[in-house]
Amino acid sequence: MNNGWPVKTGPLAAARLVAARDLRLAFRKPSQLIQPLMFFMIVATLFPLTLTPELSRLRDAAPGVLWIGALLSSLLALEFLFRDDAVDGTLEQFALSGQSLTWMLFAKTCTHWLLSGLPLALSAPLAALALGVPVEALGSMVAALALGGFALSMVGAICAGLTLGARRGGVLLSLLTLPLSVPILVFGADATRQAIVGGDIAGPMYLLGAIAVLGVTLAPLAAAAAVRIGLE
């Protein structure tokens, strides 16, 4: 029966296997990792070109630029979350495996954040400095983008699951995700703004954290339901 594989079962074991698989796949196809980051950098470059080259004025716009750039780039990355695995039948195998689909999709979403949200938050200081954000604010900004990016991934996973059965996935995915991410954007940009002016970022960070916790609690359940519907 065992075929020499000491395979453990249970939700956590399944989640760990899914995460390991996704990480391995991602490192074999690094262009999918890098492209959303490059997109983010280009969006951040376009704002000075269209708004104003003055750093003092760009600084006021920086929270918005960074967060909208991060949101758009996370939408691009979201396309890859389920689509490939749905096309080649992997998701179907997940659903049929008898393991908890909720846990597997949760692991998938966390890995997705590790590979898209976290690198984006870590590379954001480069764009932020170019937008006139002071060096002291960078740490708080990275923390806000990482936490907000995690919440965005959770919300995005539901929408990515819902659009699996749809014909024109791409635009629709944005149409579903953007209104739902309004709270994350509001608190995230507020935290970044407070960091830039040297204010207290605890308030918006707590709220971002609360949204992330709510996302962790409910989003995997909704995503699993959505993926099941899409696979029917």
């Binding site: 749809a166 014909r167 024109r168 149409l175 579903l176 739902l180 959505a226 519907i229």
Partner: protein, 243 residues
Amino acid sequence: MNWTWFHRFGSAPYMYGFARRWAPWFGGAAALLMLIGLYGGLFLAPQDYQQKDAFRIVYVHAPSATLSLMIYTTMAIAAAVGLIWRMKVAHAAAAACAPIGAWFTVATLFTGSLWGKPMWGTYWAWDPRLTSELVLLFLYFGYMGLRAAIEDPQKADKASAVLAIVGIVNVPIIKYSVNWWTSLHQGHTRYLADPDMDRSMLWPLLTLFVAFGLFFGAVLLIRLRAELLRRERNASWVREALS
């Protein structure tokens, strides 16, 4: 208590007949109350001491705003009922709700901006209540977009039901998150207990709340009939009902 009467609503032919019988009553009552309410609001109610005649937009604006949110809630509840008890009629009702709710949201935004011009001096302001109303419109668009993009009707029903439920969880969060800006919009007005408005202005407004609700009921029943006919076009009861 006997609950079997409720199960009949799960049957498409019964619901079709029910909608056909009741839509005119809802529509008639809505029209009557709307005439009374509008006459009371536009002719009988005195001018506002501050806003003069411009305040009368409230008679369309406030009921529309209430309904825009109420219809979203109705839609989410119908979608949840459809998802949990696999009731096709509930899914059809949720589908019928969406465009009506979206139009009430548009009406709220439109009358609000007309009201904003004389009062605040601008058609649009990034005020929390306006912004959350706009996001609500986008939620309706997303719901309708998802429904339209999935070809298989049962899959579309279920997927959009999940979205409606996710949306209804998000609505209060969106509401509180956009409350972070200082507000231009007036606070909540109390209508029933210890009202902030004078009686002469209040009764037309309450009448119009009821009238708009009945109007929603009438349009919902008409749309539901069309929706049921479209979905069950191959069923024998449709042929009988239309012959």
